[in-house]
Protein backbone atom coordinates (compact mmCIF):
# COMPACT_ATOMS: atom_id res chain seq x y z
CA UNK A 1 0.00 0.00 0.00
CA UNK A 2 2.74 2.37 1.00
CA UNK A 3 4.73 1.65 -2.12
CA UNK A 4 1.67 2.27 -4.28
CA UNK A 5 1.25 5.65 -2.63
CA UNK A 6 4.94 6.42 -3.20
CA UNK A 7 4.68 5.42 -6.85
CA UNK A 8 1.68 7.65 -7.43
CA UNK A 9 3.29 10.63 -5.76
CA UNK A 10 6.82 10.26 -7.18
CA UNK A 11 6.40 13.15 -9.60
CA UNK A 12 4.99 15.33 -6.87
CA UNK A 13 7.82 14.43 -4.48
CA UNK A 14 10.30 15.22 -7.27
CA UNK A 15 9.06 18.80 -7.35
CA UNK A 16 9.08 19.33 -3.59
CA UNK A 17 12.74 20.14 -2.78
CA UNK A 18 12.93 22.57 -5.69
CA UNK A 19 9.63 24.25 -4.86
CA UNK A 20 10.50 24.62 -1.17
CA UNK A 21 13.99 26.04 -1.76
CA UNK A 22 12.83 28.30 -4.57
CA UNK A 23 9.92 29.60 -2.54
CA UNK A 24 12.00 30.39 0.52
CA UNK A 25 15.13 31.81 -1.11
CA UNK A 26 13.63 33.33 -4.21
CA UNK A 27 9.89 34.00 -4.28
CA UNK A 28 9.68 34.90 -0.60
CA UNK A 29 12.77 37.12 -0.98
CA UNK A 30 11.19 38.96 -3.91
CA UNK A 31 8.01 39.43 -1.90
CA UNK A 32 9.88 40.70 1.18
CA UNK A 33 12.01 42.99 -0.98
CA UNK A 34 8.96 44.64 -2.50
CA UNK A 35 7.45 44.92 0.98
CA UNK A 36 10.59 46.63 2.40
CA UNK A 37 10.45 49.16 -0.43
CA UNK A 38 7.26 50.55 1.12
CA UNK A 39 8.84 51.08 4.56
CA UNK A 40 11.33 53.47 6.15
CA UNK A 41 13.62 50.74 7.49
CA UNK A 42 17.33 51.58 7.71
CA UNK A 43 18.28 47.89 7.85
CA UNK A 44 19.45 47.86 11.45
CA UNK A 45 16.75 49.23 13.76
CA UNK A 46 14.33 46.74 15.29
CA UNK A 47 11.16 48.30 13.89
CA UNK A 48 9.96 50.19 10.86
CA UNK A 49 6.89 51.99 9.53
CA UNK A 50 5.04 51.65 6.26
CA UNK A 51 5.38 54.83 4.27
CA UNK A 52 3.49 54.00 1.09
CA UNK A 53 5.10 55.16 -2.11
CA UNK A 54 7.22 57.84 -0.50
CA UNK A 55 10.52 56.04 -1.31
CA UNK A 56 9.52 55.94 -4.96
CA UNK A 57 8.53 59.60 -4.92
CA UNK A 58 11.87 60.46 -3.32
CA UNK A 59 13.73 58.50 -5.98
CA UNK A 60 11.82 60.28 -8.71
CA UNK A 61 13.09 63.58 -7.28
CA UNK A 62 16.60 62.33 -6.53
CA UNK A 63 19.18 63.60 -9.06
CA UNK A 64 21.69 60.95 -7.90
CA UNK A 65 19.28 58.18 -8.82
CA UNK A 66 18.65 59.67 -12.25
CA UNK A 67 22.38 60.10 -12.77
CA UNK A 68 22.91 56.48 -11.74
CA UNK A 69 20.23 55.29 -14.18
CA UNK A 70 21.89 57.25 -16.99
CA UNK A 71 25.31 55.80 -16.14
CA UNK A 72 23.77 52.32 -16.06
CA UNK A 73 22.13 52.93 -19.43
CA UNK A 74 25.42 54.09 -20.94
CA UNK A 75 27.19 51.12 -19.42
CA UNK A 76 24.61 48.69 -20.80
CA UNK A 77 24.60 50.21 -24.29
CA UNK A 78 28.40 50.16 -24.54
CA UNK A 79 28.57 46.63 -23.16
CA UNK A 80 25.87 45.27 -25.46
CA UNK A 81 27.30 46.97 -28.55
CA UNK A 82 30.85 45.87 -27.75
CA UNK A 83 29.92 42.30 -26.88
CA UNK A 84 27.57 41.77 -29.82
CA UNK A 85 29.86 43.23 -32.49
CA UNK A 86 33.04 41.62 -31.20
CA UNK A 87 31.54 38.21 -30.53
CA UNK A 88 29.91 38.09 -33.95
CA UNK A 89 33.14 39.08 -35.71
CA UNK A 90 35.12 36.59 -33.63
CA UNK A 91 32.60 33.81 -34.21
CA UNK A 92 32.65 34.36 -37.99
CA UNK A 93 36.44 34.43 -37.93
CA UNK A 94 36.85 31.40 -35.69
CA UNK A 95 34.24 29.40 -37.56
CA UNK A 96 35.97 29.83 -40.91
CA UNK A 97 39.38 29.03 -39.42
CA UNK A 98 40.70 25.67 -40.57
CA UNK A 99 44.06 25.34 -38.88
CA UNK A 100 44.43 25.82 -35.12
CA UNK A 101 40.70 26.30 -34.60
CA UNK A 102 40.67 24.32 -31.35
CA UNK A 103 43.64 26.25 -30.01
CA UNK A 104 42.16 29.64 -30.95
CA UNK A 105 38.81 28.70 -29.42
CA UNK A 106 40.38 27.71 -26.12
CA UNK A 107 42.33 30.97 -25.93
CA UNK A 108 39.20 32.99 -26.67
CA UNK A 109 37.24 31.14 -24.04
CA UNK A 110 39.90 31.54 -21.35
CA UNK A 111 38.55 34.86 -19.94
CA UNK A 112 35.23 33.18 -19.12
CA UNK A 113 37.04 30.91 -16.67
CA UNK A 114 38.45 33.66 -14.46
CA UNK A 115 36.55 35.53 -11.77
CA UNK A 116 35.54 39.13 -12.43
CA UNK A 117 37.40 40.26 -9.32
CA UNK A 118 40.73 38.86 -10.47
CA UNK A 119 40.24 40.23 -13.98
CA UNK A 120 39.37 43.66 -12.62
CA UNK A 121 42.43 43.75 -10.37
CA UNK A 122 44.72 42.70 -13.23
CA UNK A 123 43.34 45.41 -15.50
CA UNK A 124 43.54 47.93 -12.70
CA UNK A 125 47.29 47.26 -12.59
CA UNK A 126 47.59 47.45 -16.38
CA UNK A 127 45.74 50.77 -16.43
CA UNK A 128 48.08 52.16 -13.76
CA UNK A 129 51.35 50.78 -15.15
CA UNK A 130 50.89 50.56 -18.93
CA UNK A 131 48.55 53.39 -19.92
CA UNK A 132 50.85 56.21 -18.63
CA UNK A 133 53.70 54.71 -20.68
CA UNK A 134 51.52 55.00 -23.78
CA UNK A 135 50.49 58.52 -22.77
CA UNK A 136 54.11 59.63 -22.42
CA UNK A 137 55.32 57.87 -25.55
CA UNK A 138 52.67 59.47 -27.76
CA UNK A 139 52.24 62.61 -25.64
CA UNK A 140 48.49 62.15 -25.09
CA UNK A 141 47.50 64.13 -21.99
CA UNK A 142 44.43 61.96 -21.33
CA UNK A 143 46.65 58.90 -20.91
CA UNK A 144 49.11 60.40 -18.39
CA UNK A 145 47.27 58.59 -15.61
CA UNK A 146 45.05 55.55 -15.28
CA UNK A 147 41.78 56.16 -17.13
CA UNK A 148 40.03 54.87 -14.01
CA UNK A 149 41.07 58.02 -12.17
CA UNK A 150 39.54 60.26 -14.83
CA UNK A 151 35.79 61.04 -14.56
CA UNK A 152 35.51 61.17 -18.33
CA UNK A 153 37.18 57.86 -19.16
CA UNK A 154 36.50 55.70 -16.10
CA UNK A 155 33.20 54.31 -17.36
CA UNK A 156 34.63 53.31 -20.74
CA UNK A 157 37.59 51.71 -19.02
CA UNK A 158 35.33 49.63 -16.74
CA UNK A 159 33.20 48.56 -19.71
CA UNK A 160 36.30 47.52 -21.67
CA UNK A 161 37.34 45.23 -18.82
CA UNK A 162 33.83 43.81 -18.67
CA UNK A 163 33.81 43.25 -22.46
CA UNK A 164 37.20 41.53 -22.26
CA UNK A 165 35.53 38.77 -20.30
CA UNK A 166 31.94 38.94 -21.51
CA UNK A 167 32.71 38.25 -25.18
CA UNK A 168 33.70 34.62 -24.58
CA UNK A 169 30.34 32.92 -24.06
CA UNK A 170 28.36 34.77 -26.79
CA UNK A 171 31.16 33.91 -29.24
CA UNK A 172 30.71 30.25 -28.43
CA UNK A 173 26.92 30.55 -28.79
CA UNK A 174 27.33 32.32 -32.16
CA UNK A 175 29.67 29.59 -33.39
CA UNK A 176 27.02 27.02 -32.47
CA UNK A 177 24.47 29.12 -34.38
CA UNK A 178 26.73 29.36 -37.43
CA UNK A 179 27.17 25.61 -37.47
CA UNK A 180 23.39 25.20 -37.71
CA UNK A 181 23.32 26.82 -41.17
CA UNK A 182 23.03 24.05 -43.80
CA UNK A 183 26.07 24.24 -46.08
CA UNK A 184 23.93 23.49 -49.18
CA UNK A 185 22.51 27.00 -48.84
CA UNK A 186 25.98 28.51 -49.22
CA UNK A 187 26.53 26.36 -52.28
CA UNK A 188 23.27 27.53 -53.81
CA UNK A 189 24.13 31.13 -53.00
CA UNK A 190 27.53 30.77 -54.62
CA UNK A 191 26.11 29.19 -57.76
CA UNK A 192 23.65 32.07 -58.00
CA UNK A 193 26.63 34.43 -57.78
CA UNK A 194 25.81 36.05 -54.43
CA UNK A 195 28.61 38.20 -52.98
CA UNK A 196 30.20 37.39 -49.61
CA UNK A 197 28.22 40.16 -47.96
CA UNK A 198 24.94 39.08 -49.55
CA UNK A 199 25.57 35.48 -48.50
CA UNK A 200 25.96 36.74 -44.94
CA UNK A 201 22.93 39.03 -45.19
CA UNK A 202 20.49 36.55 -46.76
CA UNK A 203 21.76 33.13 -45.68
CA UNK A 204 23.77 33.36 -42.45
CA UNK A 205 21.95 36.23 -40.78
CA UNK A 206 18.39 34.77 -40.75
CA UNK A 207 19.77 31.64 -39.11
CA UNK A 208 21.55 33.73 -36.52
CA UNK A 209 18.52 35.75 -35.41
CA UNK A 210 17.51 33.34 -32.60
CA UNK A 211 21.12 33.31 -31.32
CA UNK A 212 21.29 37.09 -31.57
CA UNK A 213 18.16 37.31 -29.43
CA UNK A 214 19.62 34.98 -26.80
CA UNK A 215 22.90 36.87 -26.66
CA UNK A 216 21.15 40.26 -26.58
CA UNK A 217 18.89 39.27 -23.71
CA UNK A 218 21.84 37.97 -21.71
CA UNK A 219 24.06 40.98 -22.47
CA UNK A 220 21.40 43.58 -21.68
CA UNK A 221 20.61 41.93 -18.36
CA UNK A 222 24.33 41.67 -17.55
CA UNK A 223 24.82 45.35 -18.45
CA UNK A 224 21.93 46.70 -16.44
CA UNK A 225 22.63 44.62 -13.33
CA UNK A 226 26.43 44.86 -13.47
CA UNK A 227 28.26 45.21 -10.18
CA UNK A 228 31.52 43.24 -9.87
CA UNK A 229 33.69 45.18 -12.31
CA UNK A 230 32.78 48.72 -11.30
CA UNK A 231 32.78 47.81 -7.60
CA UNK A 232 36.27 46.33 -7.76
CA UNK A 233 37.78 48.82 -10.22
CA UNK A 234 36.39 52.16 -9.08
CA UNK A 235 33.82 51.62 -6.32
CA UNK A 236 31.53 53.93 -8.31
CA UNK A 237 33.91 56.90 -8.64
CA UNK A 238 35.55 59.16 -9.56
CA UNK A 239 32.80 61.74 -8.90
CA UNK A 240 30.13 59.04 -9.31
CA UNK A 241 31.06 58.64 -12.98
CA UNK A 242 30.82 54.83 -12.72
CA UNK A 243 28.10 54.72 -10.06
CA UNK A 244 25.94 52.09 -11.76
CA UNK A 245 22.64 51.15 -10.16
CA UNK A 246 24.08 47.89 -8.80
CA UNK A 247 26.62 49.85 -6.75
CA UNK A 248 24.07 52.46 -5.68
CA UNK A 249 21.76 49.74 -4.32
CA UNK A 250 24.62 48.03 -2.49
CA UNK A 251 25.91 51.25 -0.94
CA UNK A 252 22.48 52.56 0.03
CA UNK A 253 21.67 49.25 1.71
CA UNK A 254 24.91 48.58 3.54
CA UNK A 255 26.71 51.90 3.96
CA UNK A 256 24.18 54.74 3.83
CA UNK A 257 21.55 53.13 6.08
CA UNK A 258 18.90 53.58 3.39
CA UNK A 259 17.90 49.92 3.27
CA UNK A 260 14.26 50.48 2.31
CA UNK A 261 15.27 53.00 -0.35
CA UNK A 262 17.75 50.49 -1.80
CA UNK A 263 14.88 48.00 -2.09
CA UNK A 264 12.80 50.55 -3.97
CA UNK A 265 15.74 51.11 -6.35
CA UNK A 266 15.94 47.33 -6.90
CA UNK A 267 12.21 47.12 -7.61
CA UNK A 268 12.54 49.83 -10.27
CA UNK A 269 15.41 47.87 -11.79
CA UNK A 270 13.13 44.82 -11.79
CA UNK A 271 10.45 46.70 -13.72
CA UNK A 272 12.99 47.96 -16.26
CA UNK A 273 14.35 44.42 -16.83
CA UNK A 274 10.87 42.94 -17.12
CA UNK A 275 9.76 45.50 -19.72
CA UNK A 276 12.97 45.13 -21.76
CA UNK A 277 12.81 41.31 -21.70
CA UNK A 278 9.19 41.39 -22.79
CA UNK A 279 9.93 43.74 -25.71
CA UNK A 280 12.90 41.63 -26.78
CA UNK A 281 11.00 38.37 -26.73
CA UNK A 282 8.24 39.98 -28.85
CA UNK A 283 10.80 41.34 -31.33
CA UNK A 284 12.78 38.10 -31.40
CA UNK A 285 9.69 36.12 -32.44
CA UNK A 286 9.13 38.31 -35.48
CA UNK A 287 11.84 37.13 -37.85
CA UNK A 288 14.39 34.45 -38.38
CA UNK A 289 14.57 30.73 -38.84
CA UNK A 290 13.72 28.62 -35.81
Amino acid sequence: MASKFLERSTYFLFTLPAVILYTLFFAYAVFVGIQYSFTDWNGISSGYNYVGFSNYVDLWNNPNFKQSLIVTGQYAIMLVAGVMILSLILALSLNSLKKLQTFAKSVYFLPAMISAVTISLIWDQLFVRVVPLIGEAFDIAAFYQSPLAHPKYALIAVVIVNIWQAVALPTLIFIAGLQSVPSELYEAGRIDGASTFNRFRYITFPFLIPTITVNMVLAIKAGITSFDYAYTLTGGGPVKSTNVIGIMIYNDAFQNLRFAMANAEAVILFVIIAVLSFVQIKLGRKGGVH
Partner: protein, 281 residues
Amino acid sequence: MNVSIRQEGLGWRILRNLILLIGIIIILGPMYLVVINSLKSLEEAGQGFFNLPRALDFSNYAELLSKGNYWRYVWNTTFITIGSIVMVLLINPTVAYAIARNRHKKYYNFVYLYILLGLFVPFQVIMLPLTKIMTNLSLLNPVGLILLYGALSLTRGVFLLVNYIEGMPMEIEEAARIDGCSTFQIYYSIILRLIMPMLVTLIIMDALWFWNDFMLPLLILNKSKEFWTLPLFQYNFKTEYSFNYTMAFTSYLMAMLPIIVVYAAGQKYIIAGLTEGAIKG
Protein backbone atom coordinates in the same frame (compact mmCIF):
# COMPACT_ATOMS: atom_id res chain seq x y z
CA MET B 1 31.60 23.16 -45.95
CA ASN B 2 35.11 22.44 -47.20
CA VAL B 3 34.33 23.88 -50.61
CA SER B 4 33.05 27.08 -49.11
CA ILE B 5 36.19 27.46 -47.01
CA ARG B 6 38.50 26.91 -49.95
CA GLN B 7 36.73 29.59 -51.93
CA GLU B 8 36.89 32.31 -49.26
CA GLY B 9 38.62 35.40 -50.63
CA LEU B 10 42.26 36.06 -49.79
CA GLY B 11 41.41 39.52 -48.45
CA TRP B 12 38.98 38.09 -45.91
CA ARG B 13 41.45 35.42 -44.85
CA ILE B 14 44.16 38.00 -44.15
CA LEU B 15 41.73 40.27 -42.29
CA ARG B 16 40.39 37.33 -40.31
CA ASN B 17 43.82 36.11 -39.25
CA LEU B 18 44.81 39.65 -38.28
CA ILE B 19 41.67 40.07 -36.15
CA LEU B 20 42.22 36.73 -34.43
CA LEU B 21 45.89 37.48 -33.80
CA ILE B 22 45.14 40.87 -32.22
CA GLY B 23 42.46 39.24 -30.10
CA ILE B 24 44.84 36.55 -28.89
CA ILE B 25 47.40 39.21 -27.94
CA ILE B 26 44.75 41.18 -26.04
CA ILE B 27 43.75 38.04 -24.12
CA LEU B 28 47.15 36.48 -23.49
CA GLY B 29 49.07 39.76 -23.08
CA PRO B 30 47.69 40.56 -19.61
CA MET B 31 48.20 36.93 -18.57
CA TYR B 32 51.81 37.11 -19.72
CA LEU B 33 52.43 40.31 -17.75
CA VAL B 34 50.92 38.72 -14.64
CA VAL B 35 53.18 35.69 -14.90
CA ILE B 36 56.45 37.52 -15.57
CA ASN B 37 55.92 40.19 -12.94
CA SER B 38 54.89 37.71 -10.28
CA LEU B 39 58.42 36.30 -10.58
CA LYS B 40 60.15 39.66 -10.03
CA SER B 41 60.96 41.72 -6.99
CA LEU B 42 59.37 45.15 -6.78
CA GLU B 43 62.69 46.74 -7.62
CA GLU B 44 63.24 44.58 -10.69
CA ALA B 45 59.72 45.23 -12.00
CA GLY B 46 60.33 48.97 -11.59
CA GLN B 47 63.32 48.73 -13.90
CA GLY B 48 61.40 46.98 -16.65
CA PHE B 49 57.73 46.08 -16.45
CA PHE B 50 57.75 44.22 -19.77
CA ASN B 51 61.11 42.48 -19.37
CA LEU B 52 61.38 38.79 -18.69
CA PRO B 53 62.44 38.09 -15.11
CA ARG B 54 66.22 37.85 -14.65
CA ALA B 55 65.85 34.61 -12.74
CA LEU B 56 63.04 32.35 -11.63
CA ASP B 57 62.44 33.94 -8.25
CA PHE B 58 59.58 32.29 -6.37
CA SER B 59 59.98 34.31 -3.17
CA ASN B 60 56.68 36.14 -3.77
CA TYR B 61 54.95 32.77 -3.94
CA ALA B 62 56.68 31.56 -0.80
CA GLU B 63 55.66 34.69 1.06
CA LEU B 64 52.05 34.49 -0.11
CA LEU B 65 51.74 30.85 0.88
CA SER B 66 53.40 31.35 4.25
CA LYS B 67 51.38 34.35 5.33
CA GLY B 68 47.93 34.10 3.83
CA ASN B 69 45.46 31.32 4.34
CA TYR B 70 45.65 30.49 0.66
CA TRP B 71 44.88 26.78 1.00
CA ARG B 72 41.99 27.54 3.31
CA TYR B 73 40.42 29.76 0.60
CA VAL B 74 41.05 27.14 -2.08
CA TRP B 75 39.38 24.55 0.15
CA ASN B 76 36.40 26.84 0.90
CA THR B 77 35.86 27.59 -2.78
CA THR B 78 36.16 23.90 -3.68
CA PHE B 79 33.79 22.83 -0.91
CA ILE B 80 31.17 25.42 -1.91
CA THR B 81 31.47 24.62 -5.63
CA ILE B 82 31.21 20.85 -5.19
CA GLY B 83 28.47 21.11 -2.55
CA SER B 84 26.44 23.41 -4.78
CA ILE B 85 26.88 21.14 -7.80
CA VAL B 86 25.56 18.24 -5.72
CA MET B 87 22.55 20.42 -4.83
CA VAL B 88 22.04 21.25 -8.50
CA LEU B 89 22.12 17.56 -9.40
CA LEU B 90 19.72 16.62 -6.63
CA ILE B 91 17.01 19.18 -7.29
CA ASN B 92 17.24 20.30 -10.95
CA PRO B 93 16.76 17.13 -13.02
CA THR B 94 14.07 15.71 -10.71
CA VAL B 95 11.82 18.75 -10.88
CA ALA B 96 12.50 19.18 -14.61
CA TYR B 97 11.51 15.56 -15.30
CA ALA B 98 8.34 15.87 -13.24
CA ILE B 99 7.38 19.07 -15.08
CA ALA B 100 8.24 17.80 -18.56
CA ARG B 101 6.07 14.68 -18.20
CA ASN B 102 3.10 16.44 -16.54
CA ARG B 103 2.90 19.85 -18.18
CA HIS B 104 -0.80 19.25 -19.01
CA LYS B 105 -1.59 19.22 -15.27
CA LYS B 106 -2.20 22.54 -13.58
CA TYR B 107 0.17 22.11 -10.66
CA TYR B 108 3.19 21.19 -12.79
CA ASN B 109 2.56 23.91 -15.32
CA PHE B 110 2.30 26.37 -12.46
CA VAL B 111 5.62 25.19 -10.95
CA TYR B 112 7.21 25.58 -14.39
CA LEU B 113 6.05 29.16 -14.90
CA TYR B 114 6.73 30.00 -11.24
CA ILE B 115 10.38 28.99 -11.60
CA LEU B 116 10.82 30.56 -15.05
CA LEU B 117 9.61 33.92 -13.76
CA GLY B 118 13.00 34.08 -12.04
CA LEU B 119 14.56 34.82 -15.44
CA PHE B 120 13.13 38.31 -15.24
CA VAL B 121 14.13 39.15 -11.68
CA PRO B 122 17.46 40.93 -11.33
CA PHE B 123 19.62 39.66 -8.50
CA GLN B 124 19.52 43.04 -6.75
CA VAL B 125 15.83 42.53 -5.91
CA ILE B 126 16.49 39.47 -3.78
CA MET B 127 19.98 40.28 -2.52
CA LEU B 128 18.91 42.65 0.26
CA PRO B 129 16.08 40.48 1.66
CA LEU B 130 18.36 37.43 1.37
CA THR B 131 20.91 38.95 3.73
CA LYS B 132 18.11 39.37 6.29
CA ILE B 133 16.61 35.93 5.71
CA MET B 134 20.00 34.22 5.94
CA THR B 135 20.87 36.14 9.11
CA ASN B 136 17.58 35.14 10.73
CA LEU B 137 18.14 31.49 9.82
CA SER B 138 21.78 31.62 11.08
CA LEU B 139 22.90 30.59 7.61
CA LEU B 140 25.67 33.12 7.01
CA ASN B 141 28.07 30.25 6.29
CA PRO B 142 29.10 27.95 3.41
CA VAL B 143 26.13 25.63 3.97
CA GLY B 144 23.75 28.56 3.66
CA LEU B 145 25.50 29.65 0.49
CA ILE B 146 25.17 26.14 -0.97
CA LEU B 147 21.41 26.13 -0.25
CA LEU B 148 21.12 29.54 -1.93
CA TYR B 149 23.02 28.44 -5.02
CA GLY B 150 20.75 25.40 -5.24
CA ALA B 151 17.66 27.59 -5.19
CA LEU B 152 19.08 30.16 -7.61
CA SER B 153 20.30 27.48 -10.04
CA LEU B 154 16.72 26.40 -10.69
CA THR B 155 15.70 29.06 -13.23
CA ARG B 156 18.37 28.18 -15.76
CA GLY B 157 18.34 24.46 -14.91
CA VAL B 158 14.59 24.03 -15.29
CA PHE B 159 14.54 26.13 -18.46
CA LEU B 160 17.23 24.05 -20.18
CA LEU B 161 16.28 20.61 -18.85
CA VAL B 162 12.50 20.77 -19.40
CA ASN B 163 13.05 21.73 -23.05
CA TYR B 164 15.55 18.93 -23.43
CA ILE B 165 13.39 16.24 -21.81
CA GLU B 166 10.31 17.26 -23.79
CA GLY B 167 12.31 16.76 -26.98
CA MET B 168 13.15 13.16 -26.01
CA PRO B 169 11.16 10.17 -27.30
CA MET B 170 8.80 8.50 -24.81
CA GLU B 171 9.13 4.92 -26.16
CA ILE B 172 11.90 3.72 -23.85
CA GLU B 173 10.11 5.05 -20.80
CA GLU B 174 6.84 3.42 -21.85
CA ALA B 175 8.54 0.10 -22.48
CA ALA B 176 10.21 0.26 -19.08
CA ARG B 177 6.89 1.04 -17.44
CA ILE B 178 5.25 -1.99 -19.09
CA ASP B 179 8.15 -4.07 -17.76
CA GLY B 180 7.13 -2.91 -14.29
CA CYS B 181 9.67 -0.18 -13.57
CA SER B 182 8.61 2.46 -11.07
CA THR B 183 8.82 6.15 -11.92
CA PHE B 184 11.86 6.50 -9.70
CA GLN B 185 13.60 3.57 -11.38
CA ILE B 186 12.86 5.04 -14.80
CA TYR B 187 14.22 8.39 -13.70
CA TYR B 188 17.31 6.94 -12.07
CA SER B 189 18.33 4.37 -14.65
CA ILE B 190 17.01 5.84 -17.91
CA ILE B 191 16.29 9.57 -17.78
CA LEU B 192 19.43 10.59 -15.91
CA ARG B 193 21.51 8.83 -18.55
CA LEU B 194 19.63 10.32 -21.50
CA ILE B 195 19.86 13.90 -20.23
CA MET B 196 23.57 13.58 -19.44
CA PRO B 197 24.76 15.88 -22.29
CA MET B 198 22.54 18.73 -21.09
CA LEU B 199 23.39 17.99 -17.48
CA VAL B 200 27.09 18.30 -18.28
CA THR B 201 26.47 21.69 -19.89
CA LEU B 202 24.55 22.81 -16.85
CA ILE B 203 27.23 21.58 -14.45
CA ILE B 204 29.95 23.45 -16.33
CA MET B 205 28.00 26.71 -16.40
CA ASP B 206 27.00 26.46 -12.76
CA ALA B 207 30.45 25.38 -11.57
CA LEU B 208 32.02 28.41 -13.25
CA TRP B 209 29.43 30.62 -11.60
CA PHE B 210 29.92 29.12 -8.12
CA TRP B 211 33.71 29.12 -8.34
CA ASN B 212 34.02 32.71 -9.58
CA ASP B 213 31.05 34.38 -7.92
CA PHE B 214 31.76 37.52 -5.95
CA MET B 215 28.43 39.05 -5.02
CA LEU B 216 26.82 36.23 -2.98
CA PRO B 217 29.98 35.33 -1.04
CA LEU B 218 30.42 39.05 -0.35
CA LEU B 219 26.92 39.19 1.14
CA ILE B 220 26.92 35.86 2.95
CA LEU B 221 30.52 35.12 3.95
CA ASN B 222 32.52 38.35 4.01
CA LYS B 223 32.14 38.92 7.76
CA SER B 224 33.90 35.69 8.71
CA LYS B 225 37.42 35.42 7.40
CA GLU B 226 37.54 31.66 7.88
CA PHE B 227 34.77 31.27 5.25
CA TRP B 228 36.36 33.40 2.52
CA THR B 229 36.44 32.10 -1.05
CA LEU B 230 39.18 32.92 -3.56
CA PRO B 231 37.35 35.94 -5.05
CA LEU B 232 36.79 37.32 -1.54
CA PHE B 233 40.44 36.75 -0.67
CA GLN B 234 41.37 38.63 -3.84
CA TYR B 235 39.08 41.49 -3.10
CA ASN B 236 40.07 41.86 0.54
CA PHE B 237 43.79 41.67 -0.19
CA LYS B 238 43.70 44.34 -2.84
CA THR B 239 44.56 47.07 -0.35
CA GLU B 240 47.18 44.97 1.41
CA TYR B 241 49.21 44.56 -1.77
CA SER B 242 48.52 47.93 -3.34
CA PHE B 243 52.09 49.10 -2.74
CA ASN B 244 53.73 45.81 -3.52
CA TYR B 245 52.36 45.15 -6.93
CA THR B 246 54.53 42.21 -7.92
CA MET B 247 53.14 40.53 -4.83
CA ALA B 248 49.67 41.53 -6.06
CA PHE B 249 50.40 39.87 -9.41
CA THR B 250 51.44 36.73 -7.55
CA SER B 251 48.14 36.71 -5.69
CA TYR B 252 46.19 37.11 -8.98
CA LEU B 253 48.03 34.20 -10.48
CA MET B 254 47.47 32.03 -7.42
CA ALA B 255 43.77 32.91 -7.42
CA MET B 256 43.47 31.89 -11.09
CA LEU B 257 45.71 28.85 -10.87
CA PRO B 258 43.22 26.14 -9.80
CA ILE B 259 40.68 26.99 -12.50
CA ILE B 260 43.38 27.40 -15.17
CA VAL B 261 44.71 23.93 -14.33
CA VAL B 262 41.19 22.49 -14.65
CA TYR B 263 40.71 24.36 -17.91
CA ALA B 264 44.02 23.20 -19.34
CA ALA B 265 43.12 19.61 -18.57
CA GLY B 266 39.53 19.68 -19.77
CA GLN B 267 39.15 22.62 -22.17
CA LYS B 268 38.06 20.33 -25.00
CA TYR B 269 35.18 18.94 -22.92
CA ILE B 270 34.31 22.29 -21.37
CA ILE B 271 33.97 24.00 -24.76
CA ALA B 272 32.17 21.05 -26.35
CA GLY B 273 29.81 20.84 -23.37
CA LEU B 274 28.91 24.51 -23.51
CA THR B 275 28.44 24.45 -27.29
CA GLU B 276 26.09 21.48 -26.90
CA GLY B 277 23.97 23.48 -24.46
CA ALA B 278 23.94 26.49 -26.76
CA ILE B 279 22.52 24.42 -29.62
CA LYS B 280 19.94 22.50 -27.61
CA GLY B 281 18.95 25.35 -25.31
